[in-house]
Point group: C2
Amino acid sequence: MSFKDATLAEVDAAMNEAHVAFLSFKNFSGKKRASFLRAIADEIEGLGDELVKTAMAETALPEARIIGERGRTTGHCRMFADYIEEGSWVEARVDTAIPDRAPAPKPDIRKKSVALGPVVVFGAANFPLAYSTAGGDTASALAAGCPVIVKAHPAHAKTSELVAGAIMKAMSKTGMPAGVFQHLHGAGFEVGQALVKHPKTSAVGFTGSFVGGKALFDLANQRPTPIPVFAEMSSINPVILLPESLKKNFEKTATMMASSLVLGVGQFCTNPGLVLAVEGEGLEQFIKNFSAEISKALPAEMLHKGIAANYVKRLSETLAQKGVKLEVQSETESKIGDKNQGRPTVASVQASVFLNNPSLAEEVFGPFSLIIRCANMGELNKVVNHLHGQLTSSIIAEEEEISKHTNLLNILIEKAGRLIINGVPTGVEVCPSQNHGGPFPSTTDSRFTAVGTDAIKRFARPVSFQNFPDSLLPEELKNANTLGIWRTVNGELTRKGI
Amino acid sequence: MSFKDATLAEVDAAMNEAHVAFLSFKNFSGKKRASFLRAIADEIEGLGDELVKTAMAETALPEARIIGERGRTTGHCRMFADYIEEGSWVEARVDTAIPDRAPAPKPDIRKKSVALGPVVVFGAANFPLAYSTAGGDTASALAAGCPVIVKAHPAHAKTSELVAGAIMKAMSKTGMPAGVFQHLHGAGFEVGQALVKHPKTSAVGFTGSFVGGKALFDLANQRPTPIPVFAEMSSINPVILLPESLKKNFEKTATMMASSLVLGVGQFCTNPGLVLAVEGEGLEQFIKNFSAEISKALPAEMLHKGIAANYVKRLSETLAQKGVKLEVQSETESKIGDKNQGRPTVASVQASVFLNNPSLAEEVFGPFSLIIRCANMGELNKVVNHLHGQLTSSIIAEEEEISKHTNLLNILIEKAGRLIINGVPTGVEVCPSQNHGGPFPSTTDSRFTAVGTDAIKRFARPVSFQNFPDSLLPEELKNANTLGIWRTVNGELTRKGI
């Protein structure tokens, strides 16, 4: 089964329908939108094995991973349901009037977040469920009150179609207006470009390559009315191995790093693509153990032909760079079959070479890690200063050892959205404290996260209501505060009514 | 006295110095940064009459206005001082570990907002104090922990220099590193462009014309590393006069509208440039009374020659449009003198003409209002649908009357950042509930405000800390919560420690 690309007329109709839906959907109570999100989770679960099998067939990802991803997807739908049902996310601020203030009376002003408008979401190749049709972008946009138009990823269009069907059922079961969720196919660029350029589109969510994300970002900024694009793009997630810890813990560090590197055939935005360490006995022991682990790792099928071909190309380009030494590649023989295989690979390079070759700081999407051999901590700091923006950065070290290098930590914060101590970057917990974002080029706006409850902020904007009679105020801003949400009233955070 | 434009080498040196300062300034406690902001307010007050006289001479604004603006400037410095000293603005989120969770342990993750980096602020022509050197952009950026580089507005460069001197004194008195605040002159575009393009610049704050703001926005997005630009640009602030109220209250509505229109010679971003009403006896009576008020209003000197010349040009272009009827212009004779005079002017046009002439929806910066004569409420709704994004929109109406037009309110929310009932758009209260922002082209990002405590959000980004020992966490995220700030701990908002 293959799907027909949407025509430009269909794109136009979808966006206009989304806008009509927006004008009512945005005003639904948190409770009503929550029931929709919970129904989406239920309907996705209702798809049962068919969804798992379809996703496995389209992505070559193993069953456990797909089941895990399904759990994450239904989990974030329910998380956002709880979040908007509680309702404090609108950041209500109330400043009551002081009519007799001199020299001028103080008006009554109240503020809350409202939905931005129809949001276009691009399905991600590497997350057929959790960052695609009912993924984090979709769930957070719907939670905010924004209709969503998903452009299915062509590599898992059937999976996308199944999930879209589940969402449509949830819509009808919970009385959502037509147009709140729509699903379009488009194998080439035309559909996506038309969606981003459409005047009724208010924002864009994207997870994918730097080239793809940057192109959409540029397109959105060149519109007569620019719109925000949250694109999560490219990150090599540096892992810094401090020398004292490495000397002691090279063995367990190697095991931990190897399992992070090969997880999901390295097809994670948080894959540890860069390892920074100071030369010495510890590093050699680490490389020896790391290599042993990687050499045992089996190559595995990547998501699709394009991704596998790109991995082979980028890998061979990188290994061909002057000064890059191949440390290890997994055995070529594989029990899984050789179709679209991604071979786990580790190379190393002197820091001085890395600093002078910008191409080595670019992402190789797949199970590849480049070890940067630094002469000393001074050179390691230089490499850190040289890095682009990242989603994550990790430090493997003893607590005392880091205390001696607070300068390093101070710079690292400028480079990444999430810092990890003694852990690997893979594994993105979905929770309020999560920041899955970071300085450019890891995302297009470091001020937002794509994962966790705060992801809703990408799709909302504040509106102030001045001198409104209580009857005309949105529920969250009325005196009584019947929702019992947290509000900042005359500067004090409270759940009390006025 | 005139000031030398900064050279490109000086721009480069300033940005590099700002970046060095950033690496320590961002880590100062809220209390320490608050002392700096309070010292700025004190030092500005310490400038006394000299500042008032200089600003009056450079801007032609009257003494009471300058004194009021100074109060607003010192007021927002102290407001941000209180806000960051309290400290909850960092939106701390703590999710503690669950090591025995199945299938995978839950890590400890904690998140807070951190400063974005050096911020370039462009002084605004129309607010020599409150939106210039120590204006809202500067105060909120410093509050967030970002060094600020101000590009002085050439029309009030001496005022800017005086305020910069006060900030420098405050820096030295409170032990701030050199480079936390810097002040550059530049009469042409070169200095501003070089500042926006500099690799060490992290964000831009701008208040001014659409052409200027959009050019900086485009420049920032075309950088190898795009950066956020918050530009507050162009707004005509529609005021909707509903018919029932107009019939009863035409007289007091006319008085209120006239004083809003001529305030500050109409040189406010919130000036009521558009009036929407349904044709009929009420509207005719309103126009009669409004005209009588405007005709009595004296023309007054505008901020500078360029603004006055532009007003004359845009006004005559608008009045020359087909179907535009001049209703009233203030008397030409003036006791203030005729240099750079802005004549308060009101015109009207049929809605059908307005809908077909996009140039009529563009801002005429100065004391000008265009009344849109609508045949009925249906046509008035059509005009509202047709509007660009605005900072504000006002409705003058009885409470009951608005209840009959909730559709209008529903659309209006999509068009503006602040809605006002029975009030005028001028007068922007500085408080937590204020949203001074709005959909494009009123600003470049409707998700942020330029006024009020939330303005700090433009210059901060979240960072997550995973698996950090307590000793290495930022103060706001340590278990003890010695600052006593509000934090979301495992989903619950609390000020308790862990």
